[in-house]
């Protein structure tokens, strides 16, 4: 088999991983505060369609991405208000976001359905690094966001483990009453991180559209990647750096069938891979369903539970 194809596959896997990492880190930040946001898929779709439409209208790449971040922020804010302020069921609110995002992106994307992308995030050429055989194209032929995302995962990990607000964030997911007793507002910590997470998810959608999506297609653009990101959170045990490894692995799995198909090898039909998001969804729901499983996996102890100050 052509080794170039495999190099390309690896490169693609790493590229796809960018979206996964962004969305996964967004979800990790959210979940570490004790809020679970299942709306990732909906936010990705809305981020993608926003980037497309803004790009289409203005041909300004940065404005397009900025707007998808804003849309992510807006949707996460809705989730935060519903679940933190109004104490709605987090699972239900998250699923509502998915339905909302799917429907609205379909509606506002209808005029441009099938149209090819208006602006493109171009890969960088890193001089000599990119010219190294094999390693060069796999690791050093990506766009700036891929590298920023890796750096972001590192920053996020340092934030969680080495800073005061990170400490408070971790405590909020595990023992909100403790944080509350210290005079820190649990709601505030949760709001901030849910919204920050939403921003990253929005960016993930926008980036995916403009770097990897060739044309806008509501049905095929994100293709369940949001659900995969949610299961990655569990795989990564809520740690940002592990998310990178998981994301690359999933990126590879998502890409391989297409490579094989291109090579006329049909051992793994793409349909199987298209099922992956559903399997991932099931996995997430099962993994988080029982307290025992959650403990085993190292989930934040109070994940999904609204915080009410108990006067006793």
């Amino acid at each position: 088999m052509n080794s170039n194809v495999w190099i390309l596959t690896f490169a693609d896997a790493i590229s796809i991983a960018t979206t996964l990492i962004l969305a996964t880190i967004g979800a990790i930040l959210t979940e570490r505060s004790g809020v679970i946001n299942l709306g990732v898929e909906g936010i990705l779709l809305m981020g993608a369609v926003t980037a497309f439409l803004v790009g289409d209208g203005t041909h300004n790449l940065w404005l397009a991405l900025f707007m998808s971040v804003l849309v992510g922020v807006a949707m996460a804010t809705v989730h935060a208000i519903l679940t933190i302020t109004l104490r709605a069921n987090q699972i239900v609110a998250g699923l509502a976001l998915v339905i909302f995002g799917t429907g609205l992106s379909q509606y506002i994307g209808k005029p441009v359905e099938g149209k090819s992308r208006p602006v493109t995030i171009e890969p960088m050429h890193l001089g000599k690094l990119s010219d190294i055989p094999v390693v060069g194209p796999i690791l050093f032929g990506h766009d700036i966001f891929t590298y920023l995302t890796w750096a972001g995962a590192l920053v996020c990990s340092l934030y969680l483990n080495r800073t005061r607000p990170g400490l408070v964030l971790r405590a909020t997911g595990d023992a909100p009453a403790t944080v509350d007793a210290q005079g820190v507002s649990v709601a505030m910590v949760r709001f901030v991180h849910t919204i920050l997470g939403g921003a990253l998810m929005g960016l993930a959608g926008g980036w995916f559209m403009l770097a990897r999506g060739t044309a806008w297609s509501q049905a095929a653009t994100t293709n369940g990647i949001g659900w995969i990101a949610l299961s990655l959170v569990v795989f990564a045990a809520w740690r940002p750096l592990r998310a990178i490894a998981g994301a690359v692995l999933f990126g590879f799995t998502l890409q391989v069938p297409y490579t094989l198909q291109g090579q006329q090898i049909n051992i793994l039909p793409p349909e199987i891979v298209q099922m992956l998001p559903f399997v991932a969804t099931l996995f997430v729901l099962v993994a988080l369903s029982t307290p025992r499983a959650r403990k085993l996996l190292g989930a934040p102890k109070m994940l999904g539970q609204p915080f009410v100050r108990d006067e006793r």
Partner: protein, 505 residues
Amino acid sequence: MGSHRLGGATLFALSARQVTKRFPGVLANDRVDFDLLPGEVHTLLGENGAGKSTLASVLCGLYKPDEGAVLRNGTQVRLTSPRHGLQNGIAMVHQHFRLVDRFTIAENVVLGHRNLPFRLRANDLEDQVAQVAERFGLPLDPRVTVGELSAGQRQRVEIVKALYQGAEILLLDEPTALLAPPEVEKLFETVRAMTQAGKSVVFVSHKLGEVVDISDRVTVMRDGRVTGSVARGEADTRKLAELMVGRDIDLSPRRSRVAAQETLLQLDKVGLTKDGIERIANISLSVRAGEIVGIAGVSGNGQRELAEIVAGLQAPTSGEILINGARVNGIGTRKVREAGLAYVPEDRLGTGLAPSLSIVDNLVLTRDRGFLVDRKSALVEAEAFIKQLEIKTPHAHTATRKLSGGNSQKVLLAREIFAAGDNSRVLVVCSPTRGLDVGAVEAVHKLLDEARSSGKAVLLISEDLDEVLTLADKVLVLYRGSVVHEVAGHEVDVEAVGLAMAGLS
């Protein structure tokens, strides 16, 4: 006692003036006055539900008093939050610890400290925490994860946390409730070290015996009111008990008054080996109708395993268990219950009761008759129990988790002794008065005595030796999974039992 005078008035570090605090249906604090001198240990004594925690919570800023004022160094402060209390140097260590299990000790201690730098250097923090801990004689390794710690160690973490945040006044709410005697002694040393460093301590307790030792002054509360305040030296247990309960307490021995009859529970060479370790070795015992057999021993010598084996939660790896002559080992909890066993586990709220269900629901929980529950008769029955056993609750439909320890224990005992019906004639009870106040202890003992008189066979497993000696007709000492001493209740030589408990017989 030293008096600190300033301009003619005694300057108290912290005072409550006519503090009143109401909860729906309860007057938890009724015009309470309380004064704490700098450098003193002031005990707040009272039965469960007397209002001690409420007062402490008002003093630390957690609750706002409905009426009255809190004074710090003689000037009124309106505390809005525990954080605000801390800014005034007041910190409370709660009865239920507020720690993050997954964090290290150091992380727990520094959490919420506002003046922490943005970037945390684990080593520096660990050093700081270790220093504070050492200064007050609280040996702790700051790198250890809190989830692995014992109750006593967790408490030390809470105390270090308060000290690290600059507390001058520490309110310790029932600090000894979860501690073993040697740990209590250590805690007292810490308290002394703190007062020597000029800090003041409010020590909340419902245990008469221990407070006389440690306190400079004891203030007693009952039903939300202060009933008296006694200085060290004037405080003797009888006087305090009366202030606490408002009547005489009878904790004298209770022995069987009926002749013991047929054997109802029998263990024959029962053993349990788990993970290659022998937890229970070759235990044989029998309990007859109308008697209480007491199992004494230091905690962790197989009590839990023994109870679980008899209750059917674990199957023994050797030997036989007979209830009413029928072999029951390994047949499961449900069948064991059907065979006539009632079980009062040590962990009342976790295993014994369903905490968020009401008293009524808990009483009918183990009943197997029929599919539908007759709510009306259940309610009538529950109300009868509430009255008869003097269970303090706003209503029969109150969730059991809202009850104090003594009252929830009464509910559980009521269910296992009476509501279970005549079919259940074997009663296994584990540490039934752990964490209860004197009044409740008396009530529980009375209940167990009644169960015995009504012809039940009672196996009492308790780490409280006094309790075993008070109730049991036969005393067995458990040491490392074996019965090392056996004696009739009225022939007990306390010294011999003590030696057996320490494994020296």
